[in-house]
Structure formats: structure tokens, C-alpha cells
Amino acid sequence: MWSTRTAIAAAATLAIGLTAAACGDSGDKATGAGQGGLTVPKVPMRQSLGQGEGQVNLVAWAGYAEDGSNDPKVDWVTPFEKQTGCKVNTKVAGTSDEMVTLMRTGEYDAVSASGDASLRLIASGTVAPVNTKLVPNYADVFAGLKTKPWNSVNGVPYGIPHGRGANLLMWRTDKVKAAPDSWGAVFDGNSPYKGKVTAYDSPIYIADAALYLMSARPELGIKNPYALDQKQFDAAVGLLKTQRGLVGEYWSDYTKEVQAFKSGDSVLGTTWQVIANLAQSEKAPVEVALPKEGATGWSDTWMVGAKAKHPDCAYKWMDWIVSPKANAQVAEWFGEAPANAKACAETSDKKFCDTFHATDETYFSKVHFWTTPIAQCLDGRKDVKCVDYSKWTQAWTTIKG
């Protein structure tokens, strides 16, 4: 039984703690390392491979490590397990932030990190540099994907490119009368689909608003949706606050979005090709398109954890997932451009690589790949400071209200 005396004592302790707290140093000491001056912790690179440890723990996007449980025809995990003896345990993550958090636990061996997570993982020493000599299939990866700012530091590769693609606009063909061709459809304050619009539940979605403002309000001068100064950032946040009135729900759990589109609770909103595939396979009348403004997108990289307990199997997995056949399968299932040039010959739809512009670098110049926003503007501006990712996350809570 809690006596009054104990309660008073507890309250007093609390008060003393608070006073002590108030007297201390209250300066905000959080610092962000810039991309230019990125200091990378020394993590050793693996020099040779052993037999494999019998299993491997992956953090992956939905649809990246299919073992036939979603669709019996879609399975590139089982052949890998048979060939290498590495049992695959997959943890599906809904957002890049979740991936960073999961990898920091040290319990996972490899991760399919997007550009808004990879640099954070490198800077915190969570992932190790990758010895590409141990990944034979790396030789066939498109040159346009190798040693990019989001998968390497100072020319040292930190991962194996997996594929790339765009965030698309999805709608219910029976509920949305005219097929939308602009992101304006999800930002228009007078939308007839009020309460049925859906949006991605992550701070990085602010970039989608910024991308729309690039063409809708050119006077703001946004060049890169991940390099926003305070004025541009406020405009994007303002747009998203207007959008909140239209949104029925925010999604980060892909099964939730599939169900919402199937039942008609959501009729219009941002999506991934794999979600559209799943919804269509469950007979939901949905269609996707890349709007005329272009889109945000991802370029994913398989990285190996610095404290990986099964590094040999992780390397074997990285080599497997960019092998022509597996890379073609995963690219077709997820709906993204493959990383391996030879994968284009292995796709079941022979025009697949053309449809997804796998070799078309000018197309991908219109897709703005997820990148972690930092204080030094990524678009090269020196006269202003840009809004960093921690402000993006706090703004995201404010946007949702």
C-alpha cells in the first residue's frame, strides 16, 4: 500500500531531480555530420568467405525476400537456401527509419537500405564496407548504380545495389472517375475524394509535397526535394497540413494499404508497385501511374551489418539477390528496375526492362531518390542552411496533428 509519506517522498525526489536538471547545462549538443566532411568509423572489410553459418537474418522491404508464402509462384528464397544451406529469416520493415533502428540492435546480418537510411547506417558504424571481390555478380551491375553517394564513401563501396524505382500514384478505377496524371490529385484541398486519400506515414513523405511544389509553385525555387531551406520547408509542411483534411489514414504497413484499397476506405494515394500487384491479385480494381511531375523514389542497397553473426551467409545472399535470375524475379515482383544488366534477359515479360526504364538514365533523372536531408543543402546552395532530418521528423508529428 502506498502511504502518503511515500508519495510525498517520491514527489520530493522528483522535484529535486527536476531542479538539478534545471540547473545543469541545457544546451542542445546534437551535431550532424555533413556529407562532405563525413567521418566514417573504421569497420574492417571482410577478406575471405567461409562455408556459411547455416542461417542469415535479413531486414528487407516487403517483397524483397519472397519464399512463396505470398504467392507460390514467387520464390527466390527457397532455391537460395537449397544451394547455400543458409536458412533465411526475414524481418519486413515499413519505413527506412525502422530499418535503421532494427539494424542498430545488431541482431541482423544484412539490410536492403534505401538512400535515406544508408548514409545514417554508414556514419554510425552500423554497417561494414563490402568487399565486392567476394560478390562475383557485382561485375554485371549497371555502372550508373555503382559507388554512388548513397552507397559508398570516398570510393569505398558499402553495399551491393539491388534496384531502383519510383513511388507511384494508385487509385480505384471504379471510384475515381478520371484517371489522375498529377500529384495535385492528392493535394487539392477541394478534392471530391475527401476522407478517402491515403499518404505514406513517414517524414520522408514531406519530399513528395516538395516535389509537387517544384512544378506547382516554381517561385519557391525548389531544386531538390531533399534540400529545403526553411521557407521551402514551411511551404511543403503547409501543403501537407491542408492534405491532412483529405487523408483517411496514413499507411506504413503495406497489408493495411492493400486492405484499405480493397474495401474502398482508401481510393487514391501514394503506393509502391508491389502493393498494387498484391491488391490486383486480390481482385481490387486499382491502377497505378507515374504522374507528370515525376516522383520520389528509391535506390536500394544491400548492406552487411558491422556486428553480423552470419557474415558469410550475408555475402552469399547479396551475391544471390543480384544474380541475373533472382534479380529479375525480385524486380518483376516488386515493380522496380533491376540492378544487374543481365537480369533484363531473364524477366518473364521481355519488355520489362524497357517499361521500368532499367537502362534509361534520363528517366531516372526525373526520379528523386530518397536521401537523408542534412543541414548542408544537398543541391549545392551555400548561402542558406537546409532543414535537417530531425526537424523533418518533428514536423511530421505536427502535420498529423
Binding site: 549538443k29 546534437a30 527509419d97 545514417r120 517524414p203 505536427t398 496533428g401
Partner: protein
Amino acid sequence: MDDDQGLTAGRRPALRRRAAALLHRRPRLRLSLLLSAPLAWLVAGYLGALAAIFVTAFWTTDVFTGEVVRQFTLANFQTLVDEPVYRTVALRSLGVAAAVTVIDAVVGVPMALYMAKVAKPRHRPYLVIAILAPLWAAYLVKAYAWRVMLAEGGLVNEALKPFGLSGPGYGLTATVIVLAYLWLPYMILPVYTGLERLPDSLLDASGDLGARPLRTLRSVVLPLAFPALVAGSIFTFSLSLGDYITVKIVGGRRQLLGNVVYDNIGAANNLPFAAAVATIPVVVMLGYLAAARRTGALREL
């Protein structure tokens, strides 16, 4: 040699006897030895975790790498106070918790009263099992079942259609309904126990003195059952205040305190700020418990 062995053998039972005698003479010592293990667990595992939350709330995270910076700052609490959104979310969470508690009380008290005083004694165990049965199903299964029922064209909408009505859709109303459903057993059981202890003779006496049933309910049953009701409300209130899964599933675009904590851990990887947010429900619950203590409800737990 022999001598020595005889001595040791003779001393040991003496020591044991003396220890036993000491423990017999000092019941407090006996009690504290008995309780030290569970108490150590309570202090280290439970209060220790609370203290860790509180300390973490004064740290920050490195923006870029996400590492926790162990340096004292009030910045997290500053943000909590300065940003109106956190006040809105806190008040919204309180409102949801209060609404769930009121609904559970209104639904739960008649059910508990029926179980304790009206139903035949041999039926009571079965009624208790019926109340407990939903707790055997997983929380997520029940929440997703409600998501499907509340969906467009779902069971709720179809059932209301003949009356020209439609369901609440996903949002705060849906959240309150689902939470009230989930936590109802936690309200019924303490109230049932409280009412069962109420002697029937009091009800008879009230009747003999000319009170009608409603008057008996108001002047005899409710005052005596009130501590039990408060005890139940502690469960429903605290469980609702900390929930973040139900609102994610049926809450539409709404967020509660639990979601802000979750987003700051899961998405933003800002453990210190999450800890700062988590102190809000802790403080609210301490206040609630202090108020509940006055009614004697803690004795009903």
C-alpha cells in the same frame, strides 16, 4: 581431530537453532528476508525501468547517426511545452481514455450487478468464464476483426443501413469503441468481486425500510461498489492511455500519445524524446492513482 569434528557437528545445529529462534523472535526480519527477492525485482526491474525512462528524457540523439548523446539538456521538455501539437495529442489521449472508462462503467456495472446479485449462484462461474473468454483471443486479431467490421461495406455499415445510418468509419469514434470492447472485462471483474462481497442482508434491509430498487441501487449498492468501480477504471484508463496499436488499426489518421512515443522510437529513432513523451502518461497515472487512493479503491485491486 576427533574432538574438533565433534565440536563442529555440535555447533552447527546450535547455529541453526539460534537462527531459527532469531527469526521466530523477529517477525519483521523474517518478512524482509522473505520479501527481499521479489522486492529487488520490483525495484530493479520495474522502478528501475521507470527511472531509466526519466533519465533518458534529459538526453538527446545525434541527428545524423541516431546515437544517443548522454549530455544533460531540457530540450525535449522544451519541445513538449512549446509545440501545441503535443498538448493536443495529450488531451486527445486523455479524452479517449476517459470516454472508454465511462463507456465501460456504464456497460460493465449492470453486467457485474446481474452476475453478482441476480444470476443463480451456480451460473456465476459460467458467466465469469464468458466474460473472460474474449481475453483468450489475441489483441491484434480482435483489433483487425473490428477493422474489417468497420470498413466500408463491412458488418457495421450493413447492419446500420436499414435505419438510414452509416458506421463511424475509421477515426476516434472507432478507436473508442474498440478500446471499450477490449478492456471491458477489466472493468467487470473488479466490480463483480466488489458487489459479491456486498451482503444480501443490506439489500433486504433497504427493502424492508421501504426503499424501491432504484433507491437501493443509488443509496446502498453504488456507494459500496464505488471503490471497486474506481479500481476497474484504473485498468481501463491506464490501458487506454498507453494504447497505440488500436488507433493505428482503426484510428484513421489520428494519433495518440502512444503513437508519438512509438514513432519517435520506431521511426525517428529518438529515444530521449520518446522517453520525455512517455513521462506524460506516467504523471497522469500517478495523479489518477493518488485520487483513487482517497476512495480506498486500491484495496479492491
